[in-house]
Every structure is written in C-alpha cells, then in structure tokens.
Amino acid sequence: MTESPPDELTALAEAARARGEVDGGRAADPVNAPMVRHWLHAMGDANPRYLEAGEAPPAMLQVWTMRGLAPEPPGTGSAVDGLLEWFDANGHTGVVATDCAQTYHRYLRFGEELRSTTRFGSLSGPKRTAMGRGYFLTWHTRWYSGEEQVGEMMFRVLKFAPPESPPQRPPRPERHPLQPARSADTDFFWDGAARGELRIRRCTGCGALRHPPGPLCPRCRSTGADHVTASGAGTVYSHVVHHHPPVPGRTAPFVVAVVELPEGVRVTGNVVGADPGEVYVGMPVRLEFERVDDGLVLPQWRPGTGEPLPALHLPLTRTSITAQALATRDFQSVHHDPGAARAQGAADVFMNILTTQGLVQRYATDWAGPAARVRRIAIRLGAPNHAGDALLLTGTAERTGGAAEVAVRGANSLGAHVTGTVTVEEEG
C-alpha cells in the first residue's frame, strides 16, 4: 500500500504551488568572456564558436544565476524553499539530483543580464529508494533576458533520510571474476577498450584486418601491425541466451553475441539494454563500453541504428572535479573537500551536476561541430563520478532533417553515471 505524505508536507506543497512563479533575483554578473573561457577550459571543450561569436555555451545557463558565496539578495528565493527547509528539519537531510532537462530558446550573448524564476512542479513519495526513504521533488526554472524568456529547466531531486548508521564508504567494485588472459599480441586491444576504442589489428604489410588478433598476418606472414578503431556499428551474427549454470560476474539470463562489423571482422560481446527474447540474428547493434572493474573495460553492444560517436575517455582527478565545480560557481564542499565528501559517505570528492551537463554538451558538439546549435539537454543521473575514477562517454546519433538526437551514456567503475539525450540543430 502506498504511504501518504504527512499533512504538513502536503500543505507546504500546496503553498509552493500557490506561489506560482517566484523571483530568484538577478545574476551577479552579465554573460561574460572570462567566465566562459574558464568554463570551456574546465570542461576541456575546444569548440571555438563561443569566444569567436561572443556567445555563452548553452549548458552554462544555470551557471549565470548560481549565487556562489554571495548572500541571497533580499526579497528573492525559490518556490521550493519551504519544502527544502521542512525536509532538512524532519530528518530528510540527504539530497541527490536524479533528472535535469534544460531547453535553450536561443544562445546568450556576452553582456546580457539574466534573471531567473522558479515554479513548483511536483512532489511524490515517500518512496523506498536505494539511498533511503525519501521524496522526489521537481521544480522548474526559467531564465529571462529583460522580458524575453531565453531558457528553462526541469530539475528533480531525491530528498531522503540517510540511514541511522554512519555512512560507509561505498566499496570499490571487486575484481571482475572473468578476467581475460593477455599477451603482448593482445594488449593493444584491452588498452584500447580502457580508452573507449574497439581496436582491430591491421597488418602493416598487406593492410588486412584481423580479429581475434595474433602475432602474424596469416595472409602475408608479416609481423608488422598497427590497428584501426572500429566505427562502433555492428550486426548480430549469432547469439545465445545464457540461463544455466550460474556464471560469476554475470546475472542470468544474459545475451552473448558474435557481432559482425562493417570493417569485415567479427567480435564477441554481450548485448545489453535489450530483453533477451528481442535479440535476433541480423539485429543492428551499436558499441558501448562497460567498465567492470578498475582495470578492465569490455566492449559491449546495445540494439540501435544510430550513427556511432567516437568515445571520450576522461580521467577524473581532484583537480578536474574542483576546477569544474568552481567554473560552474558551485561551492558545495563535497565537490572540493575530500574530508567533507568522505564524511557524507562518498569515496572522494565527486563531480557536480552542472559539470555533467557541460560534459554531455561537449561530447555532442565535439561530434556535431561548431556550426551545430544545442537546443535541449536532458540527463538522468546515476553513480557519482569520484576523483580517481574515469568517465567513459559513448553515444549514437539519429539524424532527422537538419537536426540530430544524440543519445549519450557515461559510465564509470560504479556503473552508469549519466544517460541522456542532446538535441542539436544545424545553424540556419
């Protein structure tokens, strides 16, 4: 039976709804080149259009109205302040963001002065979650330049009651029980997988591609070899659904497939993200990567027909995470202070959401090019990105007319950090 929220909370939600659009105040600074430059460097985003055209990267939208360390201006606030205060006062002190969708009506130019408003969206719960008992709270933010609305955001958080026992550091994933043997002839393959590349041996004598690789080319007997990186497209050539016996490191039923690549070789991997009964010989699949432990990344396959994007491998350090938090004006201690992060049960400092949003944008525009305009970024958040880990972004794009939907997945050693879609349009 569904548990009802306390009357007090229901009343606060109704009051929040009744407030309608609440003034969040003006941005401290106009849209400006120094903050854009700092942000681009922190994200590693080499897209030249912003500084050349005097425009802000769209994923910076929220950055402009982050208050940072400044005190809240009098007479401003958020539509959900009352609810957040109630949660903190009633034991639901934990917070994690779960979803964020931003829509950009147009790109912002340097010098524009923004203000934002918030509006209550919905409250659901209490629900039992992996984090603890909690409520999902959704609100909507709008940004205005003068009277013109320039962007909006849906944001959802889980406010939860942390377990009474002191938080434990989440265990590092154990070593995958199904380790490959490696040799000097095959190291390049596994090294490539760790960087988000499916590498195919190429003979430097005759150019023949070969997988699985070996020390020689069986066609011309040359020992010279380099590799090409597979496009990421594939077709199921054969597959099995494993039920029995139990296999350590895998949960039955699971699908293993021999996948035929347009490059002319076949590789074996799991088909993920599909009901086992839906997989068929001839099914189009796309490459992604599964980080199964600190040292092993497996090339895997997901049903899909989109154009595969090159993977982006990003090592995560305290420096990168802190720099990104500051570039997004996010001074929450868990993003720069390892002690504070550990006190909350985290393994180390971890990436903030505005950075994930920025990296997802960067990944899509790296592929789409400087001429593309980002219209929308919608992400769902999963396992945190701790310092010391690495983030591997993969994706596929479906083009329709002058637009494309880029499906992005970001994985770290704990699993999926982010899944999302980026809508981009050609300049026109």
Partner: protein
Amino acid sequence: MRLSGAASIAGIGATEFSKESGRTELRLAAEAVLDALDDAGLAPSEVDGMVTFTQDASSETAVAREIGAGPLRFFGRVDYGGGAACATVGLAAMAVATGQADAVVAYRAFNERSGRRFGRAMPEAHRAPTSQGLEMSWHVPFGLVTPAAWVAMCARRYMAASGATSEDFGRVAVAARRHAATNPAAWFHGRPITLEEHQASRWITEPLRLLDCCQESDGGVALVVVSAERARSLRRPPAVIAAAAQGSAPGQQTMTSFYPDSGHPDGMAGLPSMGVVAEALWRQSGLAPRDVQTAVLYDHFTPFVLMQLEELGFCGRGEARHFAADGGLEIGGRLPVNTHGGQLGEAYIHGMNGIAEAVRQIRGTAANQLSSVHNVLVTAGTGVPTSGLVLSRD
C-alpha cells in the same frame, strides 16, 4: 604405406556408467583397461603401448603400473577434449602399423559427474596466456564459459542458415533416448522421452535445452588395438580400422571458431574440422556414405549431430533436419545413429563408449543389434579439432 586395414580393435572394456563411481579415476582407468584386455584375451604383460586424452588425469605410466603391464614401447596423448576420442585409436593403429608396439590400449576414465563437471562454469581454467587461454579471453569475460554456450552460438547460426528449429534438435534426443531405453548399460535404460518432453525441458543456453545436452557421467572405457593379422587369432571377431583421421580447419579455435578466417563460407553454420575428417575417412576407406549401415556421431549437444550428417555427406547442407525427420536417425530409419543411446542416453565417456558400440555392431553383439552391419562410421567431439574412424567387418 597405408593405415587402412593394417590394424583392428580386438578388445573393448568398460566400467559401469554412473553418476558417482565412488572410486578414483586411476582405478576406473585400470578396471576398464583390464576389462578390455580380458575381452581381447590378452594378458596385461602383453600390453606395450598406451594412449589417452591430454585431458585424462591418469598417465599412461600410472595405468600401466596398476595393471602390471610389461615395458611400454609407445605412449602418447591426444588433445582437444572429446575431439581426441577416435584419434587415440588412430594413434594406436599407427603405432601398431609401423611396428612401434604390438598391443596398444587406448583409454579414457573420469569422474566427470561426481568430480569436475564440464557443465559448470570454470572461468579460472583459462586464465594463463597460453594460446588456448588467449582464445578463451575473447569469450570468457562476457560469460561465455561453458561448452553448451560455445555450441549454442554455432547452433543459432545454423538455425538461421538452415531453418532448423529446436524441435529438429529434439528429434536427435528422442532417437538417442529411444535407443538407450533398450540398452541395459545405458543410464537412461527404460526411460525414453517424447518430443513434447524435449520441448518442455528448461533452457540451458538458448537455443539449447536441457534435453539437448549430453549427460555428465562417471566411468571408463578402454579399447585394445593390435595388427589386423594378430586380431584374427584373438578371442573376438575383429573390427578392422578401415580409416582413421584427424581434422582441424583453417582458422580453427579450440571450441570458439566464430571468426571469418576459417575459409568456410559460413563457418559457424558448419563444422569445418569434421569436413576435413570426412574427406580423409572416405578417401582412406574407399567407402561412401551409402556403404555405412550405422553411425556413432558424437552427441555432446544435439545440433552438432545434425551438422555432422551434412559434413560427413549423409545429406546436403541444410538438409539434416529433413534427414532426421520421421525417425530418420532411429533404428529402422534412414541411418540409425547412436544405437547405444549415445552420450545423451548411455553415458558421457568423452566419445570412447561410442567406439565400443561401433565394435559391438561389427561383432553382432550390440544391445540394439542391427542386421548386416559391414561398416560403421564413428566420430569424436565436434566444434573442436576432431577425429573419426571407419570400422569394418574383417
């Protein structure tokens, strides 16, 4: 020099087939070897050669020591799991034909049910960077770790290429269990199955069901090989080795030949290594599929029985499902296959019990004896580098 007709199987022996022998593997091997020598009418001291599988836990010298054999002049092992079965006899025949030894025993004995079970996932088994460990490394990390799963991968492709269905695989199992039902030595003696029961059995690795998979068994089998001439003076009618061949296809992997360099147009929908064996068996023996009255086809998993029929030339490519229809593999059918019940019905002794059945059909002493048997074809484990025999009446 020709091997065909130079040597014969003069003795067959076995332990009981069970799920828990209660004895060591070395003891099972020694018991099977003594039983085979007794069958042939040879004294243990007359044995001067021993051959077994690379996988066998009991060395040639250890078994020779237990049975009180004389000095050994020839010993050797054959690799690649059950693919070794017929090749142990082939190796023994070559030793006899070339004068290396006079009486060679081929044996295989294990507690494969009560000890180390092949049906269990053993990802640790292939972690060393040997060539085989490296082959496995393209599959093991993804959970493809059992023989059933490796075979299932080829079976799915075969289904797509030929139109064969799970019911077609089931007909192989129904035939085996029908034969086992009337074989007192079979574990499934008195327990036939229907196609409906096959279809209702649980998935192991799709497209393989439980009843597509051979048993796991404890037991041992031994075979005595001597020259064709000497065999005529021994206790039993000889089974002449008309052909003995091994085969490994270009681009072969141990059990995961999923990749396009096999030279086969669709290597995964066939068993190219058995094609290599087939060509050699027919050439050596001078026989053709129509000259064979019954076949013992290695049946660890049902789909590979159908694929072997095609590789061996009993039917065209993709036609095995029609060949097996309407009881085609049963006694009275187009080609009675595995009249002892096979490894699905009698026991899984890595193919060696099938060679013994072929000898019994030649002698006329099988539990399900066919009439007028002159030539029997026997195959070893498939999907791996494999082997085969043609045994003939003297």
